[in-house]
């Protein structure tokens, strides 16, 4: 279904390129959920080259929370593999600029703070597997309820790399046990966008005291007969990033993802991703 946003009925954001151009020209500055349906959306992390090896290694050691879609080498502003025509400095609706681990600004364009030694990381996003869940007839409660997905810091530490370390952060979707089994099979096919769940059932096993008090996002209803199902979440690398306190770093603003030219359907399994 084409996107017909409230504030611009003439703005048809059908493809990833449409969304990026709308962002680049300042016509779209809000969240990207539901735009350019079927096109893969990505988390963005931009770091000075001095931090790039350690962050890449952090992702390699923690592929479930940090599934790398593409790394753009030093100074690059296009994503040759996922969006060759993109300008990473302008094509997201809104960014966050971090200085020494503190939020410094939330602009719609980062061209003025861009540096030649920046390395950019595109990380898979749960939007891709949620689409697969919905297509399999499985419930995605926060979408039903029109909320942000609830996310929780856990008591599981990521495997650190250099200055990068921190807890695994998870997102949660309530399901019946039968649905949880089906959802495990469906999402296991998408290792590049967090893959299979990391836990299901008792939240205490992850050190989560109260499902109604998520650390990020909003709580959702858990109905009779349902159990919480937990997936590794892309907020994990953002926490590790802040712990490393780089002098400057840029990420997407929450929900304001980088929309690529690739299709979610093509992310299924690793089969087609190699020479």
């Amino acid at each position: 279904m084409p996107c017909l946003p409230d504030d611009g009925p003439d703005l048809l954001l059908l493809t990833g390129a449409d969304v990026r151009i709308a962002c680049r020209t300042g016509r779209w500055t809000r969240a990207t959920a539901g735009l350019a349906e079927g096109f893969t959306q990505a988390n963005l992390v931009v770091l000075p080259a001095d931090f790039a090896f350690e962050f890449l290694l952090f992702c390699q050691r923690n592929p479930k929370p940090c599934p790398l879609l593409e790394v753009v080498e030093r100074g690059g502003t296009a994503a040759a593999r996922f969006a060759p025509g993109a300008d990473l400095r302008r094509d997201l609706p809104r960014y966050r600029v971090w200085r020494n681990g503190e939020l410094a600004d939330e602009p719609t364009d980062v061209a003025d703070v861009w540096r030649d030694d920046f390395v950019s990381f595109l990380i898979g996003c749960s939007f891709s597997f949620e689409r697969a869940l919905l297509e399999a007839g499985l419930p995605v409660r926060h979408i039903e309820q029109g909320r942000n997905v609830p996310m929780y810091r856990t008591n599981r530490a990521c495997d650190g790399a250099g200055r990068f370390a921190g807890p695994l952060v998870v997102s949660m979707r309530p399901m019946t046990p039968a649905q949880a089994i089906e959802a495990t099979i469906v999402t296991a096919r998408f290792p590049d966008v967090h893959g299979a769940p990391v836990h299901l059932g008792d939240p205490a096993a992850l050190g989560i005291d109260d499902l109604d008090q998520p650390d990020f996002g909003e709580a959702v209803a858990l109905r009779a007969g349902e159990i919480p199902v937990f997936w590794a979440c892309g907020v994990t690398p953002q926490c590790a990033l802040l712990a490393a306190r780089p002098p400057i770093a840029i990420t997407h603003a929450p929900g304001c993802m980088f929309v690529t030219d690739r299709r979610d359907a093509d992310l299924a399994s690793h089969a087609a991703t190699n020479p």
Copy 2:
């Protein structure tokens, strides 16, 4: 079955640690195939830190030929995840030392050339999936024939990263079509050790003119009703490494792998590899 090598009937190399100690003390300087059955063996690549980000990115971009098991950070000589008690400078039977992309030496110990800025990469090896093939009752012809697996440079380029680039190199095992299907299912479960085949059937599709003339290893018999089945091969990163011509690099000598404490069976799927 315990290993009873010809030249040392009292040498029982039952575990990865047994093999490493035998190497470290100079009692084992030959190929490691068949030793410490069930323990994961790994390709080794050691590079100066200045090359580490680009090589890590090369592996990230080409996961089928370069499936990373572990990266040992700058100066480290143990493999915390795969062999905590190891000494990477001494625990392989034989090494190759490369200077500016040329083979310079083939010693049994590299402690004298080790540098504090070395970063070490352990890369999955086909021994792990061959074990799974044999357990599934599938033929592994070069083992039957007591030869080295035949390997071929292909016309497919890897996705380059910085100074690292080169062709995909493949290994080949002949099978019937039904066996090739079964072998695909079996090896797809092992993405950390090259995973599913990259091609089957016509060698010309990979630019291979003559199966009887492998670029590395030895030719094997292709029997009536069989087709060649091709897997991405760990020689690929070695070719890319030589193309980058680092001032110094260290790899394992052919067949003389690093034997770890982990079990091949634990490499099946990505399920257990995350926080």
